[in-house]
């Protein structure tokens, strides 16, 4: 009888450990994803659902209206496991973040498709590049590429030719002050002359 009891305890513990490990191991969200791949570090296609949140609010309880109105980094609390997924990048490839694409869905449930990225030992979780987004329940996806249009609205006086990052006034101000290498204009001048 004692042996039976010990066996039952062992079975319960083993089942518990298996179930816990199953939750702890990263889930595969690639099924059904149509995300474009780029061969990035630790890249995994991933489509999932969750709620768009202001990350600072989610962590600290400091919650301005409308998820900070575009001034804060946004994320998604994934429905399947309650994980806070940091959304770092939109689908555009001009050095663009994702806040403008997520903001219309502040505190709403969305479906997203994109890439989980990263395998750096200094960050023990992956960050997300959102490529497609829709409010949960809708059928049509939206491309996550609002950033450059939003930049034009924020910078109506940044006219001229070329991509936004060549015309952005804040970037231009820093480059004028500290140069491309950040060490001053004289260092830039010497290095460019040596490397042309």
């Amino acid at each position: 009888m004692m042996a039976m009891k010990n066996l039952a305890v062992l079975v319960v513990v083993a089942l518990g450990l298996v179930a816990f490990a199953g939750n702890a191991v990263a889930q595969d969200y690639s099924k059904g994803s149509n995300a474009k791949t780029f061969g990035l570090s630790g890249e995994q296609k991933a489509t999932f659902s969750g709620k768009v949140v202001d990350i600072h609010c989610e962590l600290s309880g400091d919650c301005p209206a409308n998820c900070g109105g575009g001034n804060r980094t946004l994320g998604i609390v994934r429905a399947s496991d309650n994980a806070l997924v940091m959304v770092s990048k939109s689908a555009q490839f001009e050095f663009n973040g994702a806040a403008d694409d997520l903001l219309p869905y502040c505190n709403k449930n969305v479906d997203v498709d994109g890439l989980l990225i990263g395998d750096d030992p200094g960050v023990k979780s992956k960050i997300y590049m959102v490529q497609l987004i829709r409010e949960t329940g809708q059928t049509d996806w939206e491309m996550a590429e609002l950033w450059t249009d939003a930049w034009k609205k924020r910078n109506p006086d940044s006219s001229g030719e070329g991509p936004w990052y060549r015309r952005d006034e804040r970037v231009a101000k820093q480059l004028k002050k500290e140069g491309y290498l950040g060490l001053g204009l004289d260092v830039d001048k010497k290095w460019i002359a040596e490397n042309q």
């Binding site: 990048k89 491309y180 042309q196």
Partner: protein
């Protein structure tokens, strides 16, 4: 019958344990910390899109880091032990506010004091104060050139 009781009790313990873990995950508490490290562009650093981690920091990547910060990509502090802290606020300013605060710190070696949160494997830092700033000390452009190569138009 006794086995069934043990089974039910075991499951109850497991559910309680899982609930506690979930609570810890959902409601992190802040610790006040001082972090010494370099301000980095987290996307290029973590994605490898422009090369290895040593090439997408410092002077080599400074211009791109400015572009990414202005572009709304999260800025981080790479601490001396390799830990990357995602910056959620600097000196009271939200990170995507259209100000110069974060751009002026980009690529600098700093000591930052603030609230540290960790959730689901990611470290977050609300920088209350930049205790010291040594400027850009990671002078790696002679090793890697500029990354990306088109960062300096005069070289193209």
């Amino acid at each position: 019958m006794r086995c069934l009781r043990i089974l039910v009790a075991g499951m109850a313990v497991f559910v309680w344990f899982g609930f506690q873990i979930a609570q810890l995950s959902a409601a992190p508490t802040a610790k006040i910390v001082e972090v010494k490290g370099e301000i980095i562009d987290t996307w290029c650093y973590l994605s490898g899109v422009m090369g290895g981690p040593d090439a997408v920091v410092g002077t080599a990547h400074h211009t791109c880091a400015l572009w990414c910060a202005a572009g709304g990509i999260p800025v981080g502090v790479k601490a001396e032990d390799g830990t990357v802290y995602m910056v959620l606020k600097v000196k009271g300013e939200d990170p995507l506010a259209q100000s110069d605060t974060i751009l002026e710190l980009q690529s600098d070696s700093i000591v930052a004091k603030g609230e540290h949160y960790i959730r689901d494997g990611i470290n977050y830092l609300v920088v209350a104060e930049v205790v010291s700033n040594a400027g850009i000390t990671n002078k790696n452009h002679d090793d890697f050139g500029v990354v990306p190569g088109f960062a300096i138009p005069e070289l193209n």
